[in-house]
């Protein structure tokens, strides 16, 4: 921000051109039951060319409705993609915990545990397996609150293939077809679009 360059401005202009093409798009909240939380997590490892920090993103669904999302550069450098993904999972789980608390206060406690989808198998293992790995011994204890949540049954971390990892949209540039597909899965659509359900589930 303090020293903007030409490529940065063209990136901003690209975003504006995208917005120009999606003026009639918006987020649709559906009537469906709000009985469970689902979190999609993704990370793009060492994406920042200057600092080699990773980007993490998540999307939280309440029932079929997207209620919260984030796309943020992580503030530490990760040694492996699994670590980057695990940090993303921790962020997503933190948001899900807050939403569970919120729903509880709204007198709408959730009976089912929150499903957390992650496309990295190692990160899935890391969330349930309390064995200290040689390669992950530096991962801070505070991130392992995910394990605690898993052991109490609030949260279940599952693997999802990259092709249906909707949080990808928050971490990297995607080709048009994938982008459009994920976007509609996030219930972001044109106001006059056909109202058939997305490709979720």
């Amino acid at each position: 921000m303090h020293d903007p360059r030409k490529p940065h401005l063209s990136a901003v202009k690209r975003i504006l051109r995208y917005l120009r093409g999606t003026l009639d798009h918006g987020l649709l909240l559906r009537h469906g039951a709000a009985s469970e939380l689902t979190v999609y997590n993704d990370a793009d490892w060492a994406e920042c060319p200057d600092t080699r920090k990773s980007t993490s993103g998540y999307a939280v669904f309440l029932g079929d409705n997207l209620v919260s999302w984030s796309s943020k550069r992580q503030n530490t450098v990760s040694r492996s993609s699994a670590e980057a993904e695990y940090r993303a999972v921790a962020n997503g789980v933190a948001e899900a915990c807050w939403l569970r608390q919120l729903l509880h206060e709204l007198h709408h406690p959730l009976q089912k545990s929150t499903l957390v989808y992650c496309d990295n198998v190692s990160a899935v293992y890391l969330s349930s397996n309390p064995v200290q790995h040689q390669r992950t011994k530096h991962v801070e204890i505070d991130l392992h609150f995910v394990r605690e949540r898993v052991s109490t049954g609030d949260v279940r971390v599952l693997h999802v293939p990259t092709t249906s990892q909707f949080a990808d949209i928050f971490t990297k540039g995607l080709p048009t077809s994938v982008f459009a597909e994920f976007r509609s899965s996030l219930n972001v659509m044109s106001s006059d679009a056909p109202t058939a359900g997305g490709v979720r589930k």
Partner: protein, 320 residues
């Protein structure tokens, strides 16, 4: 420090409708000369008086008198047509002294995720969702500090031109105004039996048996949903007894997001805001593209020559 004001930077004025409208006046004298603006100023002044906002007193020796100015705005409807002329007397909060004229200034606002969660729940249960608007919200706040301000320019009491106003209620522009309004409104809600949510302090919940009301507060915008229409009406009436507020009917516009009823649910879009940003960037007629970022895009902090107009870049980026 050189502020943007000193730098000569001004937010570009988007004059889409300026042809038929009285332009925004530069001084309060030119405003008084225009019938539209004069009426708006008189309306604001009488609202301040009827609200018992201040007492006129002789200037106390040594007191800091906060100065003020008139702010003029065209208010537009969600479709972009003119709603009304609005004049507001605001205080220059930067002439207040910390510790003397104000202490705490933080005021909580609702998180967008909370709004969507509450709307999802309301939708799944088929509850009515209404939107309320508080008139002159900040004028309701009561001040815990003693603050003096100058009389509104153009409306100075001719018998006592050298008197100053000692504020009873908070005024726009005061550093503590949002906080004073929030605590006043919150304490009234608690009296009505609402409970402040711990996970978001701008969410208030009322529960009596099967009767439930959720209230979301974003400064002076309120979204209210209840388990039955009767309960919703009852709550609105209870709030109106304490504050002057308008029931704007079913939710249609909140935090710059337009909300439309859709066969499947609620459709939220930021079309007007997007148009405003494009207008500001001078890109209203640009060629659109299908994705916001390139698949290869990895921009380094130090690549390429510097941008000539850094302020424009910051303004656009900040608006996204």
């Amino acid at each position: 420090m050189v502020t943007r004001g000193k730098d000569g930077f001004r937010q570009p004025y988007i004059g889409l409708h300026s042809v038929q409208l009285s332009p925004i006046p530069k001084t309060f004298r030119s405003a008084l000369a225009d019938p539209h603006w004069r009426a708006a100023m008189e309306e604001e002044y009488s609202a301040l008086l009827s609200n018992n906002t201040w007492d006129l007193i002789p200037r106390p020796p040594g007191a800091n008198v906060v100065t003020g100015k008139w702010i003029f705005r065209h208010k537009y409807l969600a479709d972009g047509s003119l709603d009304r002329y609005k004049a507001r007397w605001v205080l220059r909060g930067f002439t207040q002294r910390p510790g003397v004229d104000y202490d705490e200034t933080f005021s909580p606002v609702v998180k967008p995720a909370t709004v969507r969660t509450v709307l999802s729940l309301a939708l799944s249960r088929n509850w009515p969702v209404h939107q309320l608007d508080v008139k002159n919200a900040f004028l309701h706040g009561t001040l815990s500090e003693t603050v003096y301000c100058s009389q509104p320019s153009g409306f100075v009491d001719s018998a006592h031109p050298d008197f100053v106003c000692r504020l009873n209620k908070s005024l726009y522009g005061l550093k503590q105004a949002p906080r004073a309004w929030y605590s006043r409104f919150a304490s009234h809600l608690l009296k009505l039996g609402f409970v402040e949510a711990k996970s978001d302090t701008s969410l208030f919940i009322y529960r009596q048996g099967q009767n439930t009301v959720y209230l979301l507060l974003y400064v002076d915008d309120i979204v209210l949903t209840a388990s039955s229409s009767a309960l919703l009406r009852h709550t609105i009436v209870a709030l109106q007894q304490e504050f002057s507020m308008k029931d704007l009917g079913p939710l249609h516009h909140f935090l710059g997001i337009s909300v439309a009823q859709h066969s499947d649910g609620l459709f939220m879009s930021q079309r007007q805001y997007t148009l405003d940003i494009l207008e500001r960037a001078g890109m209203t007629d640009c060629k659109s593209c299908s994705t916001p970022v390139d698949t290869q895009a990895k921009v380094s902090a130090a690549d390429g020559p510097p941008v000539s107009d850094a302020t424009n870049y910051r303004s656009l980026t900040g608006a996204l």
